[in-house]
């Protein structure tokens, strides 16, 4: 007898009854409200099905899941996905009546199938293939004509082959209902039902790639992966998306040393079974043609061993001659927890000062508030989905944490309410109330509140399961601290008000947790002039932290610049000593996401130049060697371990790490693919305050927002995302535009603390007045989000030459 634990208990305080039923002579107890199909699945009994999906529910449209119910007032053939379990129910799945019924269903679903499995990308992981076989249908009897459709061009990401459709409606339910997309749906009547757009064109939703995962047949396939591999040939492993700090479960797949696609993994606490298009189609960085794969000293290619020997002597000499300050190790929020911790160990080993784990000082401070102050009230995305009131401060979910936008939509679908305060013209795939507050106005609201603030706090107090979403980049340490007060004020004995912080990098939380709160930042230490060797591990402060010019100037005093990275960043090209490392898909490690959840990922492919690029002419090379071309890169964690000559298994490393950091006690028990456990709440709390600068007259508040695509470094080096990139504009409120005598489409010069830029202006009615909004992407790499409140001057930029 098996008992299925309730995973939805939190949403109701009612005591759940647990009916017991019998399926195929096996007894099981499940929470009330579960269906026969789910109960059978828990017993390991496979009932063929199409339209039922774990996260979409059932609609009973495919009729595949027939079983026979022998009890109750109306015994007989039932759809297992629709019938809730009842106490004492007796069900059989293999009896003649239901088996014959399912075989007939399999037969009619195949009536119009084009029999093109050999050229279909779904082949090998096709639910239609599996269910047809398991239903028992084999030989076609129908002699009439097959119905056909004309396909649509749905853009560069999703390919459509409509003849394969079995009308399960999963696509429309995903795209429209779950993801809130508006440009795709079902059309037609009777046997002409068609799933697509009204007109040809690129799917607009930022979650369009999910069609590929949910369609149980080959109608929707990944166009970027078209004909590249069969699923059984792929090397796949449970991984974590590195594109933002949500930490979605992904299953990347590679073949012939090339990362070819990314599918959604399943994490009920985080992303359920969906991911965004940035995570799915942004994988090009691993096989980027310019990815540095060779260790280099000055302009000489050297072996990694030689590079390590050289590095060791450089560090030792610097420490001996100039003391522990002379070597600065720099970690990164896109490097794994293990790598960052090993940096600390390396510093200890060589007797240098503690490393700086994030080049972006302010983001680091903010992340520390999240990692320490909020640690006992962190919400998961599942909590957001089940909440009834979410207050969002300073976050544009689609740009900063796309899956958060989906979670918000799910709570709105359950009658929840979203109130959003942000200077940007935020769009969400659901209904929400947006108040465009400028950054300074937002700080004011959080600190003093006023009428609006009191009203919001009242709402929080009345809500059953309130969650505050806090944007770290825009609010900064000060804003987050105010929100901490809000959250504690709104908590009571029955329930606490939870907080979902939105951080910047995949491992921002991890780097924040590892480092000591009172610590000098990168620029302070560099500008002290004491640093002789700077070792940057998987980070480029020029692209990932503000004040690149100060960084470059300080670099002049550094004798040795050592870079370890896997991206062709400007810094890695200029390094005196360069050691190639591996991106997360070629490494095993851990990230800690926004919600403080330890997320393990496992190596998917081994480093090396893809076969397509080493082959000469028509086919792969006919020379056989034991050396993998381009196979030099090693995971950064391994490089550091070799440097200090302490190579350990990952499990051993985790044990040490957990001993060193009591909050990471669970680390050794986390497995890839599992939901992952939370870090332990913090004992100490950092206190940081930053004063807001005064606004000079005639200036605008500068709002730098990450672009939806091309802001994080991974997607900047992902060619597949090119069709989604937008060119940089200077967005202003129409009133401001008018006041400055500017018109939409004209050029303007913005003078900021980070340089001046000549950009095309665009008016955005939905944004806060008095703000100048610029998106960070490849065009404006100097403008980094999260640099704190600053002001800018705007002047007309004249006509184009």
């Amino acid at each position: 007898m098996i008992t299925l634990t309730a995973d939805i208990v939190r949403s109701t305080n009612k005591k759940l009854t647990m009916p017991t039923l019998t399926i195929d002579n096996q007894t099981i107890t499940v929470p009330e409200g579960k269906t026969i199909l789910e109960a059978a699945e828990a017993l390991g009994i496979v009932v063929p099905h199409f339209c039922y999906h774990k996260d979409l529910g059932a609609v009973g449209s495919c009729r595949m899941c027939a079983v026979t119910v022998h009890t109750g007032p109306m015994p007989g053939l039932k759809m297992a996905c629709l019938i809730p379990v009842e106490e004492g129910m007796v069900v059989t799945t293999g009896d003649d009546a239901s088996a014959t019924f399912r075989e007939r269903v399999g037969e009619w679903l195949m009536l119009n199938h084009p029999h093109d499995c050999p050229v279909c990308d779904e082949g090998g992981e096709c639910q239609l293939q599996e269910m047809t076989i398991s239903s028992g249908h084999g030989i076609r009897r129908y002699k009439g004509d097959k119905g056909t459709y004309t396909n649509q061009d749905l853009g560069p990401y999703v390919a459509q082959e409509m003849n394969r459709c079995i009308q399960c409606y999963r696509c429309a339910r995903t795209y429209k209902d779950y993801c809130g997309g508006r440009d795709f749906g079902v059309m037609g009547s009777r046997n002409r039902v068609f799933f697509g757009r009204f007109k040809d064109g690129m799917l607009e939703s930022d979650f369009s790639g999910n069609l590929v995962d949910v369609c149980p047949t080959g109608v929707f396939t990944d166009r970027t992966f078209r004909f590249k591999s069969r699923s059984w040939d792929l090397e796949q492993a449970d991984s974590v998306c590195p594109h933002c700090a949500v930490g979605c479960a992904t299953i990347p797949g590679g073949r012939l040393r090339e990362l070819q696609r990314v599918c959604s993994g399943d994490n009920p606490q985080v992303n359920a079974s969906f991911i965004c298009d940035r995570g799915r189609f942004g994988s090009g960085y691993a096989s980027h043609p310019e990815r540095p794969r060779q260790a280099r000293h000055k302009d000489q290619n050297i072996s990694v061993e030689d590079a390590l020997t050289l590095l060791e002597s450089q560090i030792r000499t610097a420490v001996q001659q100039h003391g522990p300050e002379a070597v600065l190790l720099l970690g990164s929020d896109r490097a794994s927890l293990e790598t960052n911790w090993l940096l600390q160990r390396t510093a200890k080993h060589f007797g240098c000062r503690v490393p700086v784990l994030n080049a972006h000082a302010r983001r680091h401070q903010t992340a520390q508030i999240a990692a320490f102050d909020f640690s006992d009230r962190l919400a998961s995305l599942e909590d957001v989905r089940n909440s009834d009131l979410v207050l969002v401060f300073g976050v544009d979910p689609l740009a900063e944490a796309p899956l958060l936008a989906l979670a918000l939509r799910q709570m709105v679908r359950k009658q929840g309410r979203v109130l959003l305060y942000d200077p940007r013209p935020v769009e969400l795939p659901c209904e929400f109330d947006h108040q465009a507050f400028s950054p300074a106005g937002l700080q004011e609201l959080l600190e003093n509140g006023g009428v609006e603030g009191r009203h919001l706090r009242d709402l929080l107090g009345q809500a059953q399961r309130p969650v505050i979403v806090a944007g770290a980049d825009l609010l900064g340490p000060l804003g987050l601290q105010s929100l901490h007060a809000w959250a504690s004020g709104a908590s009571n004995a029955e329930r606490s008000c939870q907080v979902y912080p939105v951080l910047a990098g995949a491992n921002s939380f991890g780097t924040a947790l590892l480092s000591l709160p009172e610590q000098d930042d990168l620029l302070t230490r560099l500008e002290s002039g004491k640093v002789k060797a700077l070792i940057c591990v998987e980070t480029d402060p020029l692209l990932e932290a503000p004040h690149g010019e100060r960084f470059s100037a300080a670099l002049a005093q550094v004798d040795n610049l050592v870079v370890m990275d896997y991206l062709p960043t400007p810094l890695s090209t200029n390094a005196g000593l360069f050691i190639p490392t591996c991106p997360p898909v070629e490494d095993s490690g851990t990230f800690i996401n926004n919600e403080g959840r330890l997320r393990r990922f496992r190596q998917v492919i081994k480093p090396g130049l893809s076969l397509a690029r080493t082959g000469a002419g028509e086919h792969p090379s006919r020379e056989f060697t034991l050396i993998t071309p381009g196979g030099d890169p090693l995971p950064a964690a391994l490089v550091l371990q070799r440097l200090i000559r302490q190579e350990q298994e990952l499990s051993e490393l985790h044990r040490h790490l957990a001993e060193d950091q009591p909050r990471l006690k669970e680390l050794p028990t986390i497995t890839p693919g599992a939901p992952g456990k939370r870090v332990k709440p913090a004992v100490t709390r950092p206190q940081k305050t930053d004063k807001l600068p005064e606004q000079p007259a005639g200036t605008f508040q500068l709002v730098v927002s990450p672009a939806r695509y091309g802001s994080d470094l991974f997607s900047r080096f992902a060619a597949k995302l090119a069709p989604r990139l937008t060119s940089t504009r200077l967005y202003l409120h129409p009133d401001d535009l008018f006041e400055r005598g500017l018109k939409d489409g004209e050029k303007a010069v913005v003078e900021t603390d980070f340089g001046s830029f000549r950009l095309t202006v665009a008016s955005r009615p939905g944004m806060a007045a008095g703000c100048a909004l610029v998106e960070n992407n490849g065009d404006c790499p100097q403008l980094i989000p999260g640099a704190g409140l600053s002001y800018c001057h705007i002047a007309p930029g004249g006509a184009d030459e």
């Binding site: 084009p114 093109d116 050229v119 056909t148 003849n163 009547s189 004909f227 028509e618 086919h619």
Partner: protein
């Protein structure tokens, strides 16, 4: 009894040898003389063409999945007209055991066996056959079959015009 059996056991082999000494030998003086093999003998593999002269193989990877020794590899690509074909296709005949499972798996009848078993050599690399070495310009057996005419994906005929297909549905039609 033992004695009788012993004597018979000693003499019988001599008798068998004697009897066969004057028969015509079944072995031939290979390689000077060649053996005529049965038509359905399983040896070197070929990639055949469809009756319209196009490559039959659609690079579906089923043969490589079926192959027990993993000696087939390929890469599929798409042609202008939507046809899926193999950009490269490689069989490593140093590994092939001529079991014929690949031909059984092939849904397009592209990969077929021939009776050419003479695949010995000192240079192993010469036995790694590429697509150009495998592709022949005939249909092999089943000279009528063209996969693209049987499957409804609009490559050899426009969509909805293959045998047994209705014309594409007008999805904006609301007639019952």
């Amino acid at each position: 009894m033992h004695v009788v059996r012993g004597i018979r056991g000693t003499l019988q082999p001599f008798w068998v040898t004697l009897r066969n000494m004057f028969r015509k030998p079944v072995t031939v003086q290979y390689p000077e003389e060649k053996q005529q093999l049965p038509e359905r003998y399983r040896a070197r593999l070929i990639l055949t063409r469809d009756p319209d002269g196009a490559e039959r193989c659609v690079a579906c990877h089923l043969c490589s999945a079926a192959c027990p020794v993993d000696c087939i590899s390929m890469q599929a690509v798409e042609a202008e007209d939507g046809r899926r074909y193999a950009a490269w296709f490689r069989i490593n005949f140093t590994r092939c055991i001529f079991c014929g499972l690949c031909t059984e798996a092939c849904p397009t009848l592209a990969i077929q066996v021939t009776a050419d078993f003479e695949l010995a050599g000192r240079d192993l690399l010469k036995l790694v056959y590429e697509k150009e070495d495998l592709l022949v310009d005939h249909c092999g057996t089943n000279s009528n079959y063209n996969f693209y005419r049987q499957s409804g994906i609009g490559v050899s005929a426009p969509r909805g015009r293959n045998p047994g297909e209705a014309p594409p549905a007008d999805v904006k039609d609301l007639m019952p």
